[in-house]
């Protein structure tokens, strides 16, 4: 046996093996595509078997035998047209013309070879080049359209088809040339061998190759979605997961339904990014969730006519769905829609189940992350409350010690000598600490009432400038001058005047407490867009970056406040924030550009200031305004 014969034999054995494999698939799970694949390789294998049989019978040279072989061989390009139709659809006339041409060329082969072999050979070459070439190009185009493993398999099919056609055309060119061309034979056999190997990869890839081909898809999906465990918004995370799943398949869309533990619904993220609920047996997704088994619906509109409009809107012709579950818990369902049927459905289903498993893992991880952070939040809240209670108790006990001690002293003195003189200093201490106690208690009650929403703001239009000025005036005898920097015209907002004064007073007291000894705090008021801004500026040590938001939390005491004994309950800024929020405004802390802390209150201005507040119009100073501004009011 020559090397060439050995290659030929190997090629033929491989074609037989491939035929058996695709036939087995077609019988077990019959689909049109599988039947047509079996037809393609059936025709090739028939040629192989028949030509061996004819040689064995010694009739190989008979024109009728050659005709039968040609007829059988010509079925292969026709099967390819049918496969093109199965994979990507062809116009009806192409299929009809293909069938008609097969009949014509079959008749020519059968009856014409004896009389005009050259015409038959040329006709066969044209038939293969035209029909087979069309199919090979259509496969290649389909390969470019798809992605992942389907793309690789389609590319292998296109290469196999092109090589197969080249091999057959070379055979007939050799026959036409009619002189012995070894080169041509070698090329033919190599092309045929390469063709069958490519067909194997396309139509029946071994599982280790499939795994290798699927891996990049899976990795890409994981790389895209692994960060989603940290995305705060559930809807955002699920929308991203859906997109990643759809892209993995090259599908028109994907939907992840999340089961509600208490109600029979599946929650989806709609196109607008909001939650949408459907009964947990609606759509293919719902049916899959009920069955807890993957589902393939080739024609969703036909299978579920009630929801036809929804499927059409989603571009869902074929729908595949798999349950998302972890450790037996039903989490939800993953549905992928495509505008046409999958080519290699077993690969898509395999991938779908993998993605469903990964989705389950990601959703579980998200749930755990959320749970853990909620738990941490609760623990932190409990710890803060504990710390606060302990600090509050400490704060209350200290003045109480003075009150109790002084009272018992008076009692003891009177007991010993009813005419003993009063101790003015002791009584002053007692009164001072009792007042301190009263302030602490009212701060506690204030915070409690604000927390529970029991405090009702009595809002009325007021000139914010006059409110700030009133607070400033109360601190006029503070020793150091207090600067108020504001515009000339009235900035009118709807406020509860005593409450807003309380806020500014509190901020100002903090500014004195934590500010620089040699540089007094400043008050500023200005307009920014539709808002009035009031700022209390100090030049002290400032607030650490991480503390600026936390200092407004209930029970939170900034480290800088812990070392100072003359503090309140640590509720002051919380009370300020709640009062400002009750006004629909905002309050925040920022760094004073020259060092220190600046607290800013933003309140919406009245769209039209009532006439009694309108002063002469004047340009508002821009922030940050510095000394030398004409609108500075000295204390």
């Amino acid at each position: 046996m020559t090397a060439l014969e050995l290659i030929s034999l190997v090629t033929q054995v491989l074609f037989v093996g491939l035929f058996v494999a695709v036939l087995w698939h077609a019988i077990r799970h019959p689909t049109r595509a599988r039947t047509d694949t079996a037809l393609l390789f059936g025709s090739i294998v028939a040629v192989v078997v028949l030509s061996r049989a004819f040689q064995w019978l010694g009739v190989a040279e008979q024109p009728w035998a050659v005709g039968v072989l040609l007829l059988t061989l010509n079925v292969a390009p026709y099967a390819m047209i049918r496969l093109v139709d199965d994979f990507s659809g062809t116009a009806a006339w192409v299929r009809v013309a293909g069938a008609a041409a097969l009949v014509v060329i079959g008749l020519i082969s059968l009856v014409g070879f004896a009389t005009a072999p050259v015409i038959v050979e040329i006709a066969t070459i044209v038939w293969f080049l035209a029909v087979g070439g069309y199919a090979a190009i259509a496969f290649a185009r389909e390969a470019r359209r798809t992605r992942g493993i389907t793309r690789r398999r389609m590319a292998a099919v296109a290469i196999g088809a092109a090589l197969f056609i080249a091999a057959i055309v070379l055979v007939f060119l050799g026959a036409l040339a009619s002189n012995d061309t070894v080169m041509l034979s070698v090329l033919t056999q190599l092309f045929a061998l390469a063709a069958v190997l490519a067909f194997f990869l396309g139509f029946a890839p071994p599982s280790w190759i499939r795994r290798a081909w699927r891996e990049p898809d899976l990795r890409a999906f994981l790389e895209r979605s692994v960060h989603l465990t940290g995305v705060a918004d559930d809807r955002q995370a699920i929308a991203d997961l859906q997109r990643a799943a759809a892209d993995t398949f090259g599908a028109s869309g994907a939907a992840i339904g999340i089961a509600d533990p208490d109600r029979p619904v599946l929650r989806y993220v709609g196109r607008d990014g909001e939650w949408v609920e459907y009964p947990n047996d609606a759509f293919v997704g719902g049916r899959t969730f009920q069955a807890q088994h993957r589902m393939v619906v080739m024609d969703a509109v036909g299978a579920d006519p009630d929801n036809a409009a929804a499927y059409e809107r989603a571009g869902a012709h074929t729908v595949i769905a798999a349950p998302v579950s972890a450790e037996g818990r039903r989490i939800g369902v993953l549905t992928v829609y495509a505008d046409r049927a999958p080519i290699f459905i077993e690969d898509d289903l395999w991938l779908l189940e993998l993605l469903a498993d990964q989705t389950a893992v990601l959703l579980e991880a998200r749930a755990l992350t959320t749970q853990a952070s909620e738990l941490r939040g609760r623990e932190e809240a409990a710890r803060l409350k504990e710390e606060f209670l302990s600090a509050a108790a400490h704060d209350l006990r200290t003045p109480l010690t003075v009150v109790l001690g002084q009272a018992e002293l008076i009692e003891r003195r009177l007991l010993r000598d009813p005419s003993a003189p009063v101790d003015p200093a002791g009584i002053a201490r007692m009164a001072r600490e009792a007042r301190h106690l009263r302030d602490l208690v009212s701060e506690l009650l204030d915070a409690q009432r604000l927390e529970q929403g029991l405090t009702v703001m009595e809002l009325a239009p007021a000139d914010l400038g006059s409110i700030v000025e009133a607070v400033r005036a109360r601190h006029a005898d503070h020793g150091v001058p207090l600067v108020l920097d504001g515009p000339d015209e009235a900035l009118v907002a709807s406020v509860d005047r005593p409450r807003l004064e309380q806020v500014i007073e509190n901020l100002l007291e903090n500014a004195y407490k934590y500010g620089a000894d040699d540089k007094p705090p400043a008050l500023r008021i200005w307009q920014e867009g539709a808002e009035a801004r009031i700022a209390v500026v100090d030049h002290g040590a400032g607030i650490a970056d991480g503390e600026r938001e936390r200092i407004f939390e209930r029970f939170y005491r900034a480290p800088r406040a812990r070392g100072i004994t003359d503090t309140g309950m640590g509720l002051g800024l919380y009370i300020c924030r709640r009062i400002v929020e009750e006004h629909g405004g905002r309050i925040w802390a920022e760094r004073t550009p020259t060092g220190g802390a600046t607290f800013v209150i933003a309140l919406a201005l009245e769209p039209e200031a009532p006439s009694e507040f309108v002063r002469h119009a004047h340009e508002a100073p821009t922030w940050p305004s510095t000394a030398g501004n004409e609108a500075v009011a000295d204390a």
Binding site: H394, R397, L409, R429
Partner: protein, 120 residues
């Protein structure tokens, strides 16, 4: 009962004045200090028989003061005086003789002081 010199250490002036008056009416001889550092000076000057010590104070707190006091070899009994819930634990941490939790009345204060004084 022999006269007893007591050093009152607390950063709150009103507390110091009140405790001083409470002790004086019972016949004790009292000195004051506003924090641990001041108290260390007072120890050298007045050599008190007993120290009434607040724990949380600026500059040098109760713990710092107690360890420095022992390091210098003074065996003066200490009565911890605090508004915190951990009075008992803090007292044992610095090997104090007794503690008194704020707010306290005259009797509580004198009982704690006398217990510390009578301890061997």
């Amino acid at each position: 009962m022999p006269e007893l010199r007591v050093l009152v250490v607390d950063d709150e002036a009103d507390i110091r004045a009140t405790v001083t008056a409470m002790l004086e009416i019972e016949g004790y001889d009292v000195d004051e200090a506003a924090n641990g550092a001041d108290a260390l000076h007072a120890i050298e000057e007045h050599a008190p028989d007993l120290i009434l010590l607040d724990m949380r104070m600026p500059i040098l707190d109760g713990w710092g003061f107690a360890s420095e006091l022992r390091r210098r070899g003074h065996r003066t009994p200490i009565v911890v005086m605090t508004a915190a819930r951990d009075a008992a634990r803090w007292a044992s941490e610095i090997a104090a003789s007794a503690f008194v939790a704020k707010p306290f009345g005259l009797d509580d204060l004198i009982t704690a002081v006398e217990r510390a004084r009578l301890q061997p």
